[in-house]
Every structure is written in C-alpha cells, then in structure tokens.
Amino acid sequence: MWRRFLLIVGLALFPLSASHAVLEIQITKGVSTAVPVAIVPFAWQVQGPVPNTDVAAVIGADLTRSGRFKAIPVKSMLEKPSEASAINFTNWRILAVNDLVIGRIKPAGNGNYQVEFQLFNVYTGQQLLGLSVLTTPQGLRWTAHKISDLIYQKLTGQRGAFATRIAYVEVSGKAGKDSHYALVVADSDGANPQTIFDSNEPIMSPAWSPDGKYLTYVSFENQRPAIYWQNIYTGRRELLSERPGLNSAPAFSPDGRSIALVLSSSPGNPDIYVMNLSTHALRRITHSDAIDTEPVWSPDGHSLYFTSDRGGSPQIYKLSLNGGKPQRITFDGSYNAQARISPDGQILAMVHRESGQLHIAVMNLSTGSLLTLTNGDLDKSPSFAPNGSMIIYEATYHNQGVLEEVSVDGQVHERLSESQSGVSLHAPVWGPFLSQ
C-alpha cells in the first residue's frame, strides 16, 4: 500500500551565483542515547547514470544531525536489501539497529523518478511507513530531506525540519572597508548555497517571511542603512525604508502583512515601528529616549519582544500591540538581547552576556528559569528551527565566524563552517516549514 506524494520539482532559486563551497557539518557534541538506525543505499532502477545525490546518505546525515539518531555506516551492514521480502531482520538485530529504511528509485516518465521507501522496526519486523515520492532529477536531494522529515516524525512524534532553508551573511576579504558581503540561502544542511544579493557594503539582519518566499534585510549599498525585501525565487527586490538615521532590524509579522523595524524617531533615538507592507504606512510602537531595537513578534502576532536599555542595561521587554506598558522579561545579568521566540511561544532564546562573553541562553517563559546553552566567546544571532528542536546561531571558531547549532536542551552541538579560510558566516536565520 503506497501513499503517493505530489511531484517534488527542483527548487530553483534566483541566484546571483552558486559558486560557494558547501558548508561542512561537524557534530561537536552528541548524545549517548542516540538511537541507532540503518539507511540502506537505495537501489537505482533507472536506465542511465547514477545521480550525484545519494538519497540514503542524505537521510542518514539528516537523522544523525538531529542528535536523536545515529545512522550506522554502510560498510558495517551485513546485507543491503531494497525490497521488504529480502530483509533478514536478524542481520540488523545483531548490529543493535532499532529502525531500518530501505528504498528504490524507479523511472516515472518524462525523466522524473519515483522514490519508494519503507521504514521498519527491526525488533517487531513491523512496517512503520511506506511511501512513494515523485520527483524531478533536480529535486532528488530535497526529496531525501522530505523523507527524513517523515521518518523523523514517525519515530519521534515531532515534525521534521530537514526540508527547510537557512539564510546567512557571508563576509569575505580583509578588515576595514575591503570586505565583501553576500546574502546566502542554503538548504538546512548547508547544501546548495546560493547568493541572492551581494555588496561591498554591509548586509545585516536577514529575516524570513512566514511563507519562506521572501527575505527582508538591511543593506548599506548606498553608504547608509536601508531595509529591502526580496523574493528569493524571482530575485525581485523592493526598498521598504531609507529614512534619515537608523533603518534596522526588520522582522515579518506572523501573518506576513507587516514588518516590525527600527527607525530614528529623532536623531540618536531608535524606536520600534510597524510598517504595513501593502501601504507602507508606519505606526510607532515604542516611545522612549533609550535604545529600543531587535523587535520580534510573538507567534500569535499580538505582542512584540524587543531589546531596550531603558533600565540602564540592555534587557528584553514585551509589549502588547493593543496598548499598555512594556513589561520587562529578563532580569538575570547585565546584557540580554536579541530575543527569539520558539514556534510554540513557550521558550525565549537570547544573547546573554556572562563574564564579558556572549552566550546563547533560553528562558522558560512560564517559569522564568534561564538555561545557558553555549559556552563560546561571541555567540549571537540565535534562530529557532521551525519545529523548535534546534537553535542556529553565529559563533567564532579559530578566529573565523562560523554557524553552530544547539538543541534546545543543550545536549547536541554542531558546527557548520566554510572550508575556505578568511570567510566568516554571520546572522543565520532558519526559514519556516515549506508547503513543498
């Protein structure tokens, strides 16, 4: 019994270039409780050359990267079945594998492929999942991520976030004004990095639209800050704000109709505003003489969290958009900034300064308890995966800006780094779930 999926096409962005080296992922701290799984290489049943994408390897890397699973190496497999009838479960039980995935790739006409896979519990021999996915050749890697999502959801009960994207700013070149900036969109595992905008002036503060089609960001291309939004598929970009003073920290509302942003209400006084994206009408939200910046929406769209030094040091505040006074949220330490809210609205991630170092910390919004997740010197720009399981952030490693990920319980740590030296990665933002 096969459930069929819609055609997964190759996801063509509108790239300026795709010449980047793929990011290397290194799991720097795993958990001993990771469940062993086996993803058998999928049988290739199509006339013609085997494609570059090894679907089973992508699935295995995805599941291992979650920290919840550990894919066993292909070389230790005693058999490599591609049909259910060929499985001898004893061969997997002696390897202490819990779950087994087999699959095959067949021709589907018009040059497309049918990717069939099955998931088995090794101990009961029961099939947990059996699906068939139609894909173009270019969509094969994305199909693998989709399969990872389905397996992850079946085994953990939580939706997988492998078939999602990240965006980040890549800075290359020397210190000072000789740097080059690129806004890059890549798959969640760092594959397929594509530059969607680049400049010799700084690019900052990328943020995703809730449908994953747009990025808004700050560009200094005219020697002053301006906020743009850009369709990542068509490349079309539009100026949203280039007012005197600051134009900073844009953030899409959950309904995608507005952005929160930071403007100078008078010289030297940054305040938070909300802009309607259809009319460009502005509504001023904060009215303080202090620095108010880094707005982020609560998942219900009714409130903004933001950073303010109105109490003497930067702390995180919450303000209802229906009126009322801002309520201070953080009290622990002298520097808490850049709030990010988990998709369920329960956890607040932030940049927390301790002994002069910047760490990523999370706060349980019900209890107020704070947990520091990272121990780098300069960890900042946290961003939740859309399923809330992991946080991606920027860190410094060997004098280079790298991206790191940490599970919200602090158990799993990994690093995504550019192999090229002299290239730093900054301001990662994890995109939303995508409909395809």
Partner: protein, 175 residues
C-alpha cells in the same frame, strides 16, 4: 537631508550625560546660517607647469586635524576628555570652512548583537555630532551613519583590537 537643530543651552546641559543624552528637545531658535554657494570641484590644471598645492591641514601629519578618529569605552558613547581638543579643532575648521561637509561614522566592537551595536554606533556618532553643534558648527555640514560592528579595522578577538574598533570617524566629504 533635513537636519533637526538643537538649542545650544539644551546641548550644554546634556552633552556629557552619557546614557541620557537623548533628552535633548528640538527648539525653534535656529543656529545662525549663512547662504553659501556650493563649492566647485577643484579644477584640473591643463598647464604643464607643476601644480603648486598647499597641503590641507587635514592631510598634514603635523596638524591636529590630521587625526579624525575618537575612541570610546566599552558599551559607552560619552566623549572621553582626551578627545575634546581634537574635536574642538575640527569644529573650528568646519566653522571656518562652511562649505565643508563631514560624515560622522559610528562603530562598535563585536561584543554585542549586530542590531544593538548599530544603535550603539549611532549613539557614538550622535555624541560627536552634538559636540560639534555645541561648538557652533552648522548642522547642515554634518551627517551621521552607524555601521555598528561592521567594517572593523582590526579583526582579532581581544581588547587590543576591540579598543581600536570602538570609534567614531570624521569623514570629510568634499576635500
């Protein structure tokens, strides 16, 4: 760009009050301005004879105006006493050369979030701007921009570098 003008007295009161410098209110009394025609770009000589140029004080290493950077303490935006003479000299030069425009660029070190650092760099640029306005410089001569921690002049992760990056730079625009 329309620039708000500030009363001198209000500035005098708040200039050195770090952290609450934004209580300044715009007042209606404008700073005296003179209508001056826009300066023309220096004409290129077509004569074969060597051009005699007098070194601008801005380019003369022996002149105080050669220095165009002031530095700040960690997380601070108040002007440190050792830079008052330098900024006073620049103010006098700008008053004497009313066609001269400058852009004040504010920067921070990397020990903060990108967006908060943009706000902190802006505060540093505004501190310098207010000092120059207080000295009598025409607001129309001054623009500001904050780059935050971008365009760091030093890329190592230690105080030696950080102290060089926490700065405001006076950029003369039509030298």
């Amino acid at each position: 760009m329309k620039v708000l003008r500030y009363g001198l007295m209000a500035l005098a009161v708040t200039l050195f009050a770090a952290g609450c410098a934004k209580t300044v209110k715009p007042v209606t009394a404008p700073v005296a301005t003179t209508a001056v025609p826009a300066s023309t770009a220096p004409a290129t000589s077509t004569v074969a004879a060597p051009v005699q140029t007098q070194l601008s004080p801005l380019d003369d290493p022996n002149n105080i105006l050669y220095k165009k950077v002031v530095y700040f303490d960690f997380d601070k935006s108040n002007i440190k006493p050792e830079f008052l003479d330098l900024l006073t000299a620049h103010a006098k030069y700008l008053i004497a050369n009313p066609n001269q425009k400058i852009r004040i660029e504010g920067y921070t070190d990397e020990r903060g979030t990108w967006e908060y650092n943009i706000a902190l760099g802006d505060r540093r640029a505004q501190s310098v701007r207010r000092f120059l306005l207080f000295q009598g410089v025409n607001p129309d001569q001054i623009s500001t921009v904050s780059y935050g921690e971008a365009h760091a002049v030093c890329n190592e992760h230690n105080e030696g570098c950080w102290s060089q990056n926490r700065r405001a730079v006076l950029v003369y625009l039509n030298q």
